[in-house]
Symmetry: D2
Subunit: 133 residues, 4 copies
């Protein structure tokens, strides 16, 4: 599913808008990198919580897709974000991980960290659904 993930990710106009790129991809785990720009900030100049969530959502969705059978597509059902501290970092990494992959639903977790993956800024728990084409 590696090629399918890359191809689907490339179709997400919004990931381009965020300047987001996949920097790690294996079955059940995907990492996305994003660099701070003025176009991504909230009122104090840090990454907007919506940017963090968008990156974690895509990271989970595509981590989920790697666990599905060929020809599947993925949609988000729900996710919850907890924001632990302002994301004061020039570069952030969103890591999405599959926790439980069922036939229909895939449960994933994600986190936003600094580039060294030392400080956690936000976490997400979410459910993805498998669509058969």
């Amino acid at each position: 599913m590696i090629e399918e993930v890359k191809s689907s990710f490339a179709k997400q106009g919004f990931m381009k808008t965020l300047g987001a790129e996949i920097v790690h991809l294996e079955e059940g785990c995907l990492k996305i990198r994003c660099k701070k720009q003025d176009s991504l900030t909230q009122q104090h100049g840090y990454f907007h919580a919506g940017v963090l969530t968008s990156l974690m959502d895509s990271a989970c969705g595509y981590a989920a897709l790697t666990s599905m059978s060929k020809g599947s597509d993925v949609l988000s059902v729900e996710f919850k974000t907890n924001l632990m501290r302002p994301a004061k970092s020039e570069v952030i990494i969103a890591t999405g991980t599959v926790i439980k992959s069922g036939k229909t639903l895939v449960f994933c977790e994600a986190k936003i960290t600094d580039e060294k993956e030392e400080t956690i800024f936000a976490t997400l728990q979410g459910t993805m659904i498998c669509l058969k084409n």
Copy 2:
């Protein structure tokens, strides 16, 4: 707090990136309008779930700010998004509403609808925190 909301919203570079504008603003309720662009899409060409969440997060945050005392600032603590159907609409409205305003925490709900506010695409429940300057 109306002026403070407008001024803070204007500082969110990310809202500009989304082409988002406040179209309604009263105490405890705020509506944001967003028009579809290729730069905001997921892989099927609909609004990315992250865009929907970003709009609902800002709508809740600023609805919460209207309920706080002068000089306060607001940050998101957590929020959860449920996605009910693909947001197949040219224009969407994010409505954020204060449900319970405490001294420190403000609990809000939001929804994404089409422009006529007839079809609900997504909902959000979230907690905002009041920061004293």
Copy 3:
């Protein structure tokens, strides 16, 4: 599905433990009543947040079941509870409502109020899944 809801509810040993009873049941909406007992409290003598959540979960699950085709069964996928104020009430009502019923997933909302349904103590947003027998 009315009979199926009542019969399944009666099988939930835990609802008996909570002294919970269905007081309203129509398609897409169900209300459960629960009376305060020392066996249901947290450390300050109010209803435990887990009791509130359990009632809202069952209210949503069975509201969802009323919207499913005959012979279906229901399981909770996820839910999120926001606690707005301590549930200082002798009797509480959990109201579960179907917001969007799909073929596989049903999205529901619930709230806990006092008996007159005037004060909201907690809310829940959750996803239920339809199991075919």
Copy 4:
């Protein structure tokens, strides 16, 4: 805070109702054990999702309390439960862990596993608030 945790837990009538007992307690982490009884089941005879959530909520609340200053009390603000598979186990363990402890809010995660802590049945992400007495 160890004594304060034990004393507060003992006041939760609802934990007694669940037959729940603290089996591990250190700063930032607490484990609760619960044995299956007919009084705790949903319609298929497994642990009710509300029981799982109640245990995780208390595990998080008291894990949070261990991270607070002496004389503090704790309340749940919000939590979200994801249910990964039916909790088909005679004994379950709820583990609550502090992820980020702030002055006012403490962010925690919890999981429900079998007694050997090998299989995860459910997870929870939640926010606790510190009350000063």
